[in-house]
Symmetry: C2
Subunit: 387 residues, 2 copies
């Protein structure tokens, strides 16, 4: 079967055309085509909106498809609010619900809805499934999702912790439990998704019980260009003294902070290289980022009632042995010991990098959100008899 | 000797006149007089500024002093910036430095400086000592005090973690180490100062290496009226969509959030009582506050390389057995076990409330910032030959 996986950003559209068997098995090369439409809505780009972007995808796929038809489409949607606690088969009501959640993700949800409507019009028979960044975290207990703010901010503005990267945290949780031979519903762990965006999730009984991102993906860890947590007063002070307005502050925190703000580079590879070459700012940034992450691991070890695994994933988590080492070097107080050689080995398979006597196993598990979306699209479509 | 301890708030001035021997020993009743001048600068209050407030204190003390003279004055000053790493004997240069730090504590530092100038004028011979909320935390390493923000925010605006409650954290650290018979310079611990304002401090080698308050006292734990940490985007979003301006947001986060925002009551006693009576909002607030605190304990256990004590202090920490229990019930993953009866006992003495087999001892240690300021005033004055 052919599944089209679509990831609509505010001004971009990434896609993969994937082959998957009706039982979920994949061929050796499951990705048949992939592509990226950029600068959507940017004057002069020739692509005015996500509907036109999908026309372009359609054209690009024609030769590849050679007459075959796409069986289903799976869409990554940033925000499912409190409405979506799992992936969903797309109906008009579902599209409208995604549009109604636009205040929570003003750049992303309307773009995703446009893509959904365009496909529903073009291929009305094709089942579509939406997979949300947030839905995996809807299992969090209230003490984890509530801010200590007046009720009205939650009841009137929907301000609460939602969490993101859910598809990845979910996938990696399952793979880590399987790797360790622990039934998922008994699996308590801390998952570290460290990409350009980064978040840690506390897993108890296989479910998300806390996560570092919050109302938006800004909160928590130090990221490529995002600050993560800062004293909230910093924002009100800089706005009140006239140094920044709210929009500039938003940009500063989301696009000009994190590794970029501290070192001039958003890319972890570059930061690690510069630190090795003696760059003081890069060294400081590595310390700040790894130290903050280590503290979250300690906090989530408490939150889950004692972790049975600490799991690294995503670009930095899978590939940066020096960054993993910087974090793990701090986790001795939890009884964690890692094997320096195993940490240096490169592989695409899930693997354990802790020593045999580590109180908590440490794993590296590659994530693959597109693969996860394709699988979910298949199972959700089948469950509804749409495939 | 007589030492006047002065705590200048933005619109208030609290004082204690204390008796202390030249070697620091205290009589059974060291507080000879205490008082509070309120509504300073409020039209119609009759007290225009902190200079006039001190006139009033002088008048109130006349009868008590009965001709004796005050030997020294010790002032609590909120912000010592990076300039002050310890209490200091007051000179004109010191007063000017405190005034220059006003941008960091616009309500508090100018008031404190006024008090210092008034006393220096009235009693030019009297040694004065300033004790800072921040100075104890100047030992933090850079990975703890730096935010992941562009450098300019630090270099131009002084934006970094400063931390507060330092006098209390310092005092309680020393008392806890002594109670456990551990040399202070080998003492690694987590100190929980839980009053109306609340902060946790990570102690390594007897020194502060991290603390939950940040650039201002807003950050970190859930407090009486402060939110503690929130996703910074909440602020920019609510300002950008016009729901609040920066000043309103500042008030909301500092004065209308925390326990008050969640339950209608800022006072922990009331919140605990309401929770027992079945109030759902009060129960949620207790869970949010205790859960967040437990996570910080886990994080700081990692930060200090393995804590040798967890110490409760201040109004809530010393008096609220139910709140301590709610926190400690979550700390099993650190090997912490507490004695439910010992937790219920009331006492003014430092005491251990963990079981003999707890991996980390848990203590309750009463704080007394005024006593600490008086002691520091004595030793700093003596060291400079001013007493
Ligand atoms: N070999 C490597 N060493 C260190 N960092 C790496 C390596 N490969 C990728 N990364 C880092 O991974 C990050 C991107 O992760 P990724 O998961 O692709 O991000 P996204 O959040 O955009 O999906 C970048 O900071 C990049 O530098
Ligand atoms: N017996 C008690 N039980 C529970 N909370 C108490 C008790 N006594 C005092 N508190 C709480 O302590 C807090 C005030 O602490 P305190 O250290 O005096 O504050 P601050 O010095 O920061 O103003 C209040 O929330 C109050 O309810």
């Amino acid at each position: 079967m052919l599944i089209l996986v679509i990831n609509s950003g505010s001004s971009s559209l990434k896609y993969q055309l994937r082959e998957v068997g009706p039982d979920g098995t994949e061929p050796a090369e499951p990705v048949i085509a992939r592509g990226l439409v950029e600068r959507i809505g940017v004057p002069g780009s020739g692509v005015d909106n996500h509907t036109e972007a999908l026309e372009q995808v359609d054209a690009e796929l024609e030769a590849v498809l050679a007459g075959r038809t796409i069986d289903a489409a799976g869409h990554r949607v940033v925000h499912g609010g409190e409405r979506f606690t799992a992936p969903a088969l797309v109906t008009m009501e579902v599209i409208r619900a995604i549009e109604r959640l636009a205040p929570l993700a003003p750049l992303h949800n309307p773009a995703a809805a446009q893509g959904l409507r365009a496909i529903a019009e073009k291929w009305p028979q094709m089942p579509q499934v939406v997979v949300f960044d947030t839905s995996f975290h809807q299992s969090m207990p209230e003490e984890a999702w509530r801010y200590a703010l007046p009720d009205a901010l939650y009841t009137e503005h929907g301000i609460r912790r939602y969490g993101f990267h859910g598809t990845s945290h979910d996938l990696v949780t399952g793979m880590a439990a399987e790797t360790l031979g622990i039934p998922r519903d008994q699996f308590d762990a801390v998952i570290l998704h460290l990409g350009n965006g980064a978040s840690a999730t506390a897993i108890a009984g296989g479910q998300s019980v806390d996560t570092t991102m919050g109302y938006t993906p800004l909160a928590g860890l130090v990221m490529g260009t995002r600050s993560g947590d800062v004293d909230p007063s910093i924002i009100t002070h800089l706005i009140r003294n006239g140094a920044y307005d709210a929009e500039q502050m938003d940009r500063l925190l989301n696009k000009e902070s994190g590794l970029l703000g501290m070192t001039g580079h958003a890319d972890m590879r570059q930061v690690v290289d510069n630190a090795h070459a003696g760059d003081r700012r890069a060294r400081t940034a590595l310390k700040v980022a790894s130290y903050r992450l280590a503290k979250f691991v300690g906090g989530y070890h408490v939150a889950v009632g004692g972790a049975r695994a600490v799991v690294f994933t995503a670009g930095i988590g899978e590939n940066s042995a020096p960054f993993r080492a910087a974090v793990l070097d701090r986790l001795g107080p939890l009884g964690i010991a890692y094997d320096a050689e195993a940490n240096l080995e490169r592989s695409n398979a899930p693997r354990v990098i802790s020593t045999a006597d580590s109180a908590i196993p440490v794993l590296v598990v590659p994530t693959d959100e597109e693969r996860a979306i394709a699988q979910l699209t298949l199972t959700v479509s089948q469950r509804h008899g749409a495939l």
